[in-house]
């Protein structure tokens, strides 16, 4: 039979799931504080004061994971000429006409955008979150910072939520095999050739 190809190393998978679990916890508790209609989520997660206590600490785990990803995937996430060509033909990707798409490397431009959006929004969430964590350290005359922080925090959180929905949908429902690859790390050669031809050529030397 066909030899499977290693797509994600063990440490990549561990960090991915650390960031995923941390993000989902922060998103769920954040959603509870975002809307009274979602406050029950905080009840399920051990009560609202508990949720409020852990939200920023877990968010720091997410931050650490995404910083590791930046270090590890910096080169893979660089947007190339091949990506730009691919994105011109994005319509085919959406319509599942993948045979009309130019070949790409390890990640497609959607995955790359997802990474950079999470990194950028994560930075905004970190800075505004620090203000929200310790609002009393902000002097009264600087209270404009607090006003900016509540708006930026919720706006950035909504951006990540949108990105998260698309990421999970693509990775599980649309690109079959993607979910398995981030758990077990392996993909079939046919999968690699279909979705990431340049990467397939690079790692197999074919």
């Amino acid at each position: 039979m066909t030899a499977y190809i290693m797509r994600y190393t063990l440490i990549e998978r561990v960090v991915h799931w650390a960031s995923a679990i941390a993000y989902m916890y922060a998103m769920a508790t954040g959603a509870a504080f975002y809307s009274p209609h979602l406050y029950w989520i905080a009840m399920l997660l051990g009560g609202a004061p508990t949720s409020r206590f852990w939200h920023p600490w877990v968010a720091l785990v997410f931050t650490a994971a995404i910083v590791w990803m930046l270090r590890a995937w910096r080169n893979d996430m660089r947007i190339t000429a091949a990506d730009r060509q691919w994105s011109q033909a994005m319509e085919h990707y959406i319509k599942n006409e993948d045979e009309d798409l130019p070949p790409i490397d390890r990640f497609n431009i959607g995955q790359k955008y997802f990474f950079w959006v999470m990194l950028g929004a994560g930075l905004v969430l970190l800075v505004s979150g620090a203000v929200l964590w310790f609002p009393e350290l902000i002097p009264w005359s600087w209270r404009g910072l607090r006003y900016a922080a509540i708006l930026l925090h919720v706006a950035a959180a909504l951006v990540t939520t949108g990105a998260f929905i698309i990421h999970v949908y693509m990775g599980t429902a649309v690109v079959r095999g993607g979910f398995t690859s981030i758990i077990r790390g392996e993909v079939s050669p046919a999968w690699a050739k279909t979705h990431h031809r340049l990467w397939y050529n690079r790692v197999t030397g074919r």
Binding site: T2, A32, F33, Y34, S35, P36, H37, Y39, A42, A48, P49, S51, R52, F53, I94, K95, N96, D98, E99, L132, P135, E136, W140, R143, R146, Y147, A148, A149, I150, L151, V154, A155, L158, T161, G162, I165, I166, Y169, A173, V174, V175, R176, G177, S188, P189, A190, W191, K193, T194, H195
Partner: protein, 290 residues
């Protein structure tokens, strides 16, 4: 600091109906503080500590008679001192009792995400219910008067309750009870407003304080604590009393349009991916021979 005898007309972070909403029959209660007859004796500070059984805390000396820079989680009532220079080269000593203003439109309650942590009773008192408080401190951001304070040990917010427990039993708040000059009054909002206006008129007509007036800011719907000031045109001189306090526009923007925009975007996104799956489904891998 709740009291079961008072009906509630507003609840923070609450989905669904509010028991006392639109059934208003009670009079609004109000504290009147006449800064022109305050002598800064701090009896109200002590009475507040005593009645509410607050632990003593260190005070801070800042070359004035002020006990500490601002109210604290266990210091809800603070006289603010200001040596205010006059046009004639003289100096006027402004003293203002600072505490929760019990806004008709409370910014703390608007900002609070915790169901039931902040309530407004039918008599207008805004009260924190610490058992429901999650310690997020959003009320700090919502308040235009810098009043709610965080206890880092219990992770709960505290502020003046307007002696809800006393008021619900027909007593006046402890600070009012302790005032030796009678500069503090307590009663219905209508009565206090009338008394305050009478006093301001008296000051304008019979003293040099021709700009005397009543502080009852409309930006927060009026307050349950009103001041008579020597100079209504300059409330900032009284230890930073804001001239036009409002619920911060950022809180309003976040709780109203931004929230609805966000809800639409998230629900739209979920519908979008569902529709995409129904229309196009999963991608197929071309099973090319090895």
């Amino acid at each position: 600091m709740s009291s079961g005898t008072l009906r509630v007309q507003k609840i923070s972070g609450h989905a669904g109906p509010v028991p006392g909403e639109g059934t208003q029959r009670q009079e609004q209660v109000c504290k009147l503080i006449d800064t022109t007859t305050c002598i800064g004796c701090k009896a109200c500070e002590v009475a507040c500590m005593e009645w509410n059984d607050l632990p003593f805390r260190e005070t801070v000396f800042q070359n004035t008679y002020q006990t500490m820079p601002e109210t604290a989680w266990n210091y809800w009532n603070l006289i603010k001192f200001n040596e205010h220079p006059q046009a004639d080269g003289g100096m006027m000593w402004l003293m203002r009792k600072d505490q929760c203003m019990h806004c008709a439109d409370p910014g703390c309650l608007a900002a609070c995400p915790a169901d039931n942590a902040i309530v407004q009773y039918q008599n207008g008192i805004v009260d924190f219910q610490q058992e429901y408080c999650i310690g997020c401190q959003y009320c700090v951001t919502g308040c235009p008067f810098n009043i709610p304070k965080f206890n880092p040990n219990t992770k709960k917010m505290f502020k003046c309750t307007l002696c809800t427990d006393r008021v619900s039993q027909g007593l006046e708040p402890a600070c009012i009870k302790a005032c030796p000059t009678g500069c503090l009054h307590f009663g219905t909002k209508d009565d206090m407003k009338e008394l305050a206006e009478t006093r301001a008129l008296q000051l304008r007509q019979h003293t040099a304080h021709t700009k005397a007036g009543v502080y009852d800011p409309a930006g927060v719907g009026g307050t349950g604590v009103i001041y008579v000031l020597h100079d209504i045109t300059n409330p900032e001189a009284y230890g930073g009393l804001p001239s036009n306090p409002r619920v911060p526009w950022a809180v309003r923007l976040w709780k109203r349009p931004l929230k609805w925009l966000g809800n639409l975007a998230v629900i739209g996104g979920l519908i979008g991916v569902t529709m995409h799956y129904l229309r196009y489904g999963p991608k197929r891998v071309k099973d090319g021979g090895e």
